[in-house]
Amino acid sequence: MSDDGGRDVEAPPIISVRELTVRARDRVILERVTLDIPDRDVTGIIGPSGCGKTTLIRTMNRMAERSGGLAISGSVRYRGQEIYAPEVNPVLVRQKIGMVFQRPVVFPMSIFDNVAFGPRLNGLDGDELEAIVLRSLERAGLLGEVGSDLDRPALELSGGQQQRLCIARALAVEPRVLLLDEPTASLDPIAAQRVEALLFELRREYAVVLVTHNLQQAARVATRTAFLYQGRLIEYDETKRLFETPREKLTENYVTGRFG
């Protein structure tokens, strides 16, 4: 297990995970995971299927507790504050820490209404709402493509556009962290590449956590990368170092494609 999380980070981490253990009824999904997520950067999380990487990011915005029967222990802090503290409401956590899923999940409504979903909950309307919707679409690089007609059903968009719409929708809530669970896994290579470029761009303003089973993707986008294996954090380091001179044998085997 590695405890070097946060070593090379000068600014305080935006999320710090300490000794996080998640148990299902009959097995341990995550075991004593400790790592820091830096602000305004892309952090990759890689590992074979079932290694717990999805569960790890789902604990970061308290989505994990939705899957019943999970026992979560340890600590997850957002800017120094425990997100599992009893007085903290998950709704607020999820406003600060947004999430995008593997398959683009657009609501069966118009493009505008999709992006406006979060801001509307917070009471925005009129010009303010429109401004934030346009800004979010712009940031997600979608405004140019769909700009003319925001009242179109979102389901008419292509898969890649839908995924970027989901990112725009998450950004419209004005989170500081964006968690992405294999966001390009269901996209064709060109659409995937556009999403990737977008994530790289977003790191200027957000902390981006990218779960992926595509090693090249992690290498291209992530500044730091964590390797999870069977619920344990094996290695967490600068991406370049992790891929080129891994310290652990397991990491080496994985990144060189000997298993996965």
Binding site: R79, I83, L92
Partner: protein, 307 residues
């Protein structure tokens, strides 16, 4: 627009309270969520109040007066027991279940396994339509067909046949569902191994489908057991011991319908009605528990198949 996010220690200290800083708007939203939750649960609980009230009152009126005679004696005038109604109910439900199961099961299997998709679609639609026909309309149908056209008059057989029309769709739709739900892989594997269709059905599909089919049969029985309207003008009424398929018969629901307006002062009839109601509730509870048990069992089985 990029928000100002100072990275210095002061800024961090201020941020530390970020998750505690619940805006008035958010507080309102959370409160609304809580109110709605309790309102919905309250409405849910309110619905059960009548159920318990009914079970309570039926029990109060029925249970203290239960004797052995309630089950063994025949009602004569203002006295006697429910023997004829119990007998009649068993015969009617037994026959109707047999009819409905044979028709519904065969039609269901054919719909799931043999019928072309277009035909299957029409069959399913018709099954649902049949389930939606009001019981009293089926009653008129049964009266004309089984009491008048056949010249039988009021008979047990006519009552059971009428009742079965009402029960068929429940067996039919569950049988169809059961056989349609057998994992395609299993079926293809069997047919690829050279099994004939009927062999596949008997050896492979049937054991998998059985619990669901039974669910449908139980449900149909519960439906049939609770019906009054289709029986009053087909099975007629008779408070003497049951004599045969071509004689009229009484039944538990009929006792309630006939006696519910009797004043409590006038003999045992109103009590008999409540006792009939009590027995029906007990049987329905038993059937429901049976249904639940089957459904659980079925679910576990499906999981075992990885479906």
């Amino acid at each position: 627009m990029i928000r100002d996010r100072g990275a210095g220690p002061t800024a961090l200290a201020a941020d530390g309270a970020e998750l505690a800083a619940v805006s008035p708007r958010l507080r309102h939203r959370l409160r609304l969520d809580g109110i709605v939750r309790w309102a919905l649960l309250g409405a849910f609980a309110a619905v059960f109040f009548p159920l318990f009230d009914m079970i309570y009152w039926v029990s109060v009126r029925a249970v203290p007066k239960f004797t052995l005679a309630t089950f063994t004696e025949y009602q004569v005038g203002n006295a006697g027991g429910l023997a004829a109604m119990i007998e009649g109910t068993f015969v009617l439900i037994g026959l109707a279940t047999a009819f409905a199961t044979s028709i519904g099961l065969i039609a269901g299997i054919y719909t799931a396994e043999y019928a072309p998709p277009a035909v299957a679609r029409i069959g399913r639609l018709a099954g649902n339509v049949l389930a939606g026909i009001p019981a009293i309309v089926i009653g008129y149908f049964g009266y004309f067909l089984f009491a008048l056209y056949t010249g039988w008059g009021y008979t047990t057989l006519g009552g059971a046949l009428t009742l079965s029309v009402l029960m068929v769709p429940f067996v039919y739709r569950t049988a169809d569902l059961a056989f349609s739900s057998v994992p395609a892989s299993q079926r293809e594997a069997a047919l690829a191994l050279g099994a004939r269709r009927h062999q596949y059905l008997r050896r492979l599909a049937w054991p998998i489908a059985l619990p669901t089919v039974l669910t449908g049969v139980f449900l149909a029985m519960a439906i049939g057991l609770g019906e009054t309207a289709p029986l009053v003008y087909t099975a007629g009424w008779s408070n003497t011991p049951w004599t045969g398929l071509f004689s009229p018969t009484s039944f538990l629901t009929g006792a309630i319908w006939l006696f519910y307006e009797q004043p409590p002062t006038l003999g045992a009839l109103l009590t008999l009605a409540f006792q009939a109601a009590f027995l029906l509730i007990v049987i329905v509870v038993a059937l429901n528990l049976g249904l639940q048990w089957l459904a659980d069992r079925y679910r576990r089985r499906l999981r075992g198949l990885g479906a």
